[in-house]
Structure formats: C-alpha cells, structure tokens
C-alpha cells in the first residue's frame, strides 16, 4: 500500500497537478517550435496579455465559489474602460477612481438584483450584460475614445525595469484576492454560501449582504481591468471585452474551480488565465492556421475540465 503510493501518482494528484502540467507542456511545445517563445520579452508580453483576463477571472473566482455566475464582466470592463478614457483627459492617473466606482456600482446592481430580488445570477447578468453594453454603445456611438494623457498611459501601461506596470498591478490584485479568499471571514462566508446557501443562511451568515459584496467585488475588479485594458489599447471602444466573460469562466474552471461552488482557489485561476493566454499567444507565434485555433481552444477547455474535475465532490453533474 505505502510503497505503491510513493511510486505512482494517484488520480487525486493528477487532478491537482494537471493545470500546472498542462502549462508546462504547452510552454515546452511552443518553445520547441519557436525559439522566440521563451524569450523574456515574449514572457512579459504574455504576462501583460494575461492581465485583463486574470483580473476579471479573479473576481469571477469569488462569484463561482459563491455558487453564482457573472456573464456581465465583459460589459463592465467596456463600461469602465469608457469611463477611464473619458476622464483620463482631465484627471489623468486618477481616472482609476471613476473607472473603479463605475465597475463597483455595476457589480452592486447585479448583486442587489440577484440577492434581494432572488433572481438567478445567470439571468440577471445575462440581462445586465446586454444593458451595460447597450449603455456603452449609446454613449460612444461606436466611436473609439482615445486616451492621450501621457501620465495615465505611463502609469497604467508603461514599464519599469522592463516589467510592465500592469503586471505589477495584477500581482497586487492576486495578493489581495488571495488574502481575502483564504484568510478572512468574508472568504469563508463566500465558500459557505457556495457550499450550501440555505445552510449558510440558517447558520447566521448574512447571505444577501455577502452575495452583494461578491458581485460588487467582481465589478470593482472589472473596473480595474477596464482601466488596464483602456491603457493598453490607448482607447476605449464599444467592442472592448466582448466574450471576456466566457474566457474568465474558462480560466476559473480550467484552474480546477468547479462551477458548483463552495470550493476553489486563486492559484488555480492564475494558472487557468495563463494557460488560456499562452495557448493563444503560442498558436499565433508559431503561426497556426487561425481557422484552426478555435477548435484547439475548445478541446483544451473540455480536456482540462475532464481531467481536473473532482467527480467525488460533485454528486450532480449538471
């Protein structure tokens, strides 16, 4: 018994280690095909490309652990990017404040309708996704809003010692979300609600308040993501962040957090966001037929969930 355990990997280990193994395999495959892939410069580009997805996915991690889902993150990113672009001209780097406030408010609206209105989050955020994007379209009329402010661009999309600032900001977000999820009472309440909402409610957890806070948190993070995206593209457009919600959900679940709620980890989401970004970056670097790339992306998504999912924990596979 003991012997065989030390010799061979158990299914549990495979499950746990799969995201990191997948990441390593992908990196190795791309590195073998293109010498450029592992260069510092490209790694920084990947990191930078991953930032917006990662920040949104970190927020999504909380929502999913709480047993809900948020389809409006892409729209919130577009909305806050718009706010950042509009205000950057006058207040420069402080555009982060209105961008984050708008993100937070959008998230709180989701949260209040979900928690107080008792409407499933899938529907609420499907609706607000359309509404928020409608608002962006209504205000921009499709025109990109360029950001000229130098200080804004330098702070949010410049580099120091060749490290992009956005990557540093993302590291900060990782640290904060990891602490909040793992070390605070709030983080435990989020898990409890995802594990069993009614039980949490009867045990005295303020379910409504916590859920509103969770949606507010993802909104706030999307506000930040929108700002970073606006800084990276030096403009806000109506199409910004389209489909980001699905990528964010994919990042979370590829990282091993099940959609059923109650469990999940920040490090998983980091791996998931990196896998999705690297897959895309690598396929473009090696010049894979763009018509073929989507097929591979879809298969990788299914495969990783197929392997990482803990079937013992999920009585019901829905």
């Amino acid at each position: 018994m003991k012997l065989s355990q030390t010799r061979s990997l158990t299914t549990d280990d495979v499950r746990r280690l799969f995201p990191i193994m997948l990441l390593i395999v992908l990196c190795a495959a791309f590195a073998l095909t293109s010498s450029r892939f592992l260069q510092f410069n490209n790694l920084m580009i990947v990191a930078q490309q991953a930032v917006v997805l990662l920040v949104a996915a970190l927020g999504m991690t909380f929502v999913i652990i709480a047993g809900s889902i948020d389809l409006s993150v892409g729209a919130i990113v577009a909305l806050s990017a718009l706010v950042a672009a509009v205000t950057a001209g006058s207040i420069g780097v402080f555009a982060v404040v209105p961008a984050c406030i708008v993100g937070l408010l959008s998230g709180l609206i989701n949260g209040v309708v979900v928690a107080r209105g008792k409407v499933p989050s899938f529907i609420v955020t499907l609706g607000t996704m359309v509404v928020y994007r409608g608002v962006v379209l209504y205000f921009t009329r499709g025109a990109p809003i360029s950001i000229e402010d130098e200080s804004f661009l330098t702070v949010y999309s410049g580099r120091s010692l060749s490290v992009p600032h956005s990557v540093l900001i993302a590291i900060g977000v990782i640290a904060v979300t990891a602490v909040v999820l793992n070390l605070t009472v709030f983080g435990r309440e989020v898990r409890a609600i995802g594990g069993g909402e009614r039980i949490a409610f009867l045990t005295g957890i303020k379910v409504e308040r916590v859920k509103i806070a969770v949606f507010g948190l993802v909104g706030l993070l999307c506000g930040l993501a929108g700002l970073l995206q606006a800084a990276r593209s030096m403009a806000a457009t109506a199409q910004l962040g389209e489909g980001l919600e699905l990528d964010a959900i994919a990042a979370v679940v590829v990282g091993g957090t099940p959609l059923t709620g109650g469990v999940g980890s920040i490090q998983g989401t980091i791996l998931g966001a990196l896998i999705i970004t690297i897959l895309s970056n690598g396929m473009n670097i090696i010049g894979l037929d763009p018509y073929f790339q989507n097929i591979i992306k879809g298969l990788v998504l299914i495969l990783s969930v197929f392997v990482t999912i803990d079937r013992k924990k999920i009585g019901i596979i829905k």
């Binding site: 490309q49 379209l137 990276r232 593209s233 030096m234 109506a238 970056n281 473009n284 670097i285």
Partner: protein
C-alpha cells in the same frame, strides 16, 4: 404623409465607428431631403440582418438601403420584391448586377471595391518598403472578421498584389476580428514570433490602430521601423497618417449610404434611375502624408460639405449624373 417617404436602413453593426459615420451622413441627407429614416442594427448577426429586413418590409418602408453582409442580399431582395419595395445595396457587392429580371426592384449598388482597396493598400505598402539583405520584403497580415465579404474581398486584393510582387513574403497571418484590442493582442504575438516583419497590412482602421499600439508597446516606431497600411479613413487613422505613424489609408465610402439615399429618394419620387447609373463603384480616396491636409480641408469631421438637394433630381431636375465621385477639391 407620402411626401415624407420612409426609408429603412440596416447596418451590420453600430459598434464600429465606420457604420456610425455612415448613418450620420445619411441622417443629414434625410433631414435635407425630407425623408423619415429608420435605422436598424443587425448587431453583427446574420439572422438579425434578415429579421430587420423583414421588419422593414412589414412596416412597410417605401425604400430600403442595406448592406448585404453574410450573403443576405438574395434574401433581402426577394422579400422586398414580393412587397414591391425598391432597394439599393451598399458596401458589399452580391455578385450579380442590379436591375435584372430576377430583381427588378434592386435599383442600384453603391460601394467601394474592397478588392481594389485591398490591392491599393498592398501596393502602397510594398512600394514604401525597402528589401532586406535577402532582397525580400517581409510583411504581416491582420485580417478582418472571418466570414465577412469585406474581409474576404480585401484579402483577395492583397492576394492580387502579392502575385505581382514575388519579393514580398507573408511571415504570418492572424485574425483581428476587425476589433482593435483583439488585433493588438494577436499582432503582439505574431510580431513576437516574426520580428523580421517590416510592413503590416491591416484589414481596417481599428485593426491598424491595434497594430500600431502593439508596435509602440514593443518600442517600435510605426512609420519608421515598420510601415502600416489601413482602410476606412476613421478620424484617428487620418490623424495617424498626418503624424506619420500610418503610411496609407483609403476610404471615404461611409458616404455611400448618403449617395444611395439620394438615388432612392428620386426613385420614390417617380424619377427612374437610368440603367447605366445602377452601379456606383466608388473610387476610394487614398490618403497619404502628402494628401492628408487636403483631405482634412475637404472632409471636415469626415463629412464633406454636401448639398443633397443639389444632387437630387427631384429637387434639381438637371442635377449631374456622376455626382458621387470621391475627389479632392484640388
């Protein structure tokens, strides 16, 4: 209320600046001519394009102007034919001519030749590039949304130019989906894999902006280290031509809707469109550093001072026929 005809317009999307310019110019025309303009948005969905056309037929509109993305021309023309509604197509040529027996209600086509524009972009790019040590010119291609005829036709134009220029090598192609952020991301990766790229053919304005942003982030100076060409003449791209970042841009075809509006208005007012004027293939306006000042003077805010009534034969019976040339004043 027949004196104020209802003209319905379906655009492929309103989330892109180009189509908003298109609609704005038409709105100006509608106000001048006295037309009730109903603008519908297909939201980038083929089915919604068809539905919107059906809704216009049900309303009914007195005339329809639409852009048959996703091969929706035949469907739209059939619907309109059954309801006796005249149609002008813009922007995307459906591979059959107007005013045939099959579709007598298909009055005219007004649009650019995307293929020609794609070729012009390529020619301008190739001419500006100097060959590398091996005598090759290495370019990258950022395509538009796969499946749109616009993307396909522009790419065909590039292909035509490539045939005449064996010294040009395509290092790689990516799909930027006509969206600037996507274009930026995919080009970042492409460029990382092929740092020898010295020229970029970008399928539209937003795509080019994304590419230029990526280049700047990579510490390169577009227009010096690497040339970028684009299409659509979006204001920001015109500015980029002025600053020297963008080598070449071509467009002006957002005016096509306004031109079509005049033609359709006259038809509704009983003035038949002559057969020989049923295909207006706009010769697009190329803009380079040399002509950008002129462009800005002639097209303030992208909209030329255009007297719709003067071009409408219902208002000005002797209005000249070929009124829709895109030209510089000097």
């Amino acid at each position: 209320s027949k004196d104020k005809p209802v003209i319905g317009v379906v655009v492929p999307t309103l989330a892109a600046q180009f189509w908003n310019n298109y609609v704005d110019f038409m709105k100006k025309g509608a106000a001048d001519l006295g037309v009730e303009l109903v603008v519908l948005n297909a939201d980038n969905k083929p089915d919604q394009m068809v539905k919107s056309l059906e809704d216009l037929v049900a309303r009914p509109a007195d005339g329809i102007i639409f852009t048959p993305y996703w091969a929706t021309a035949t469907r739209g023309l059939t619907l309109a034919k059954d309801a006796g509604i005249p149609v002008i197509l813009t922007d995307t040529y459906p591979d059959y001519p107007p005013q045939t027996d099959r579709f007598p209600n298909y009055l005219a086509f007004v649009g650019p030749s995307d293929q020609d524009a794609g070729r012009q972009m390529a020619e301008a790019l190739f001419a500006a590039m100097s060959p590398d040590a091996n005598g090759k010119k290495v370019i990258g291609v950022v395509n538009g949304t796969a499946g749109t005829s616009v993307a396909i036709d522009r790419r065909k134009g590039l292909e035509d130019a490539l045939k005449d220029h064996p010294e040009v090598v395509v290092a790689g192609e990516v799909d930027g989906n006509f969206v600037r952020d996507t274009s930026q991301t995919v080009f970042e990766s492409l460029y990382q894999g092929h740092p020898d790229i010295k020229g970029v053919w970008a399928a539209n304005g937003g795509t080019a902006t994304g590419v230029m942003t990526a280049l700047k982030n990579a510490g390169k100076q577009p227009g010096k280290d690497i040339f970028v060409v684009a299409m659509d003449l979006n204001p920001e791209n015109v500015d980029a031509v002025e600053s020297g970042d963008l080598l070449f841009d071509i467009g002006g075809h957002w005016l096509q809707g306004g031109f079509a509006l005049v033609m359709l208005y006259d038809e509704i007012k009983g003035i038949d469109l002559p057969k020989e004027q049923d295909s207006v293939k706009l010769k697009l306006l190329p803009v380079t550093k040399d002509t950008v000042a002129q462009f800005k003077a002639d097209f303030p805010e992208g909209v030329p001072p255009y007297d719709f009534k003067a071009h409408s034969r219902a208002y000005t019976p002797d209005a000249p026929a070929a009124a829709f040339e895109l030209t510089y004043s000097k």
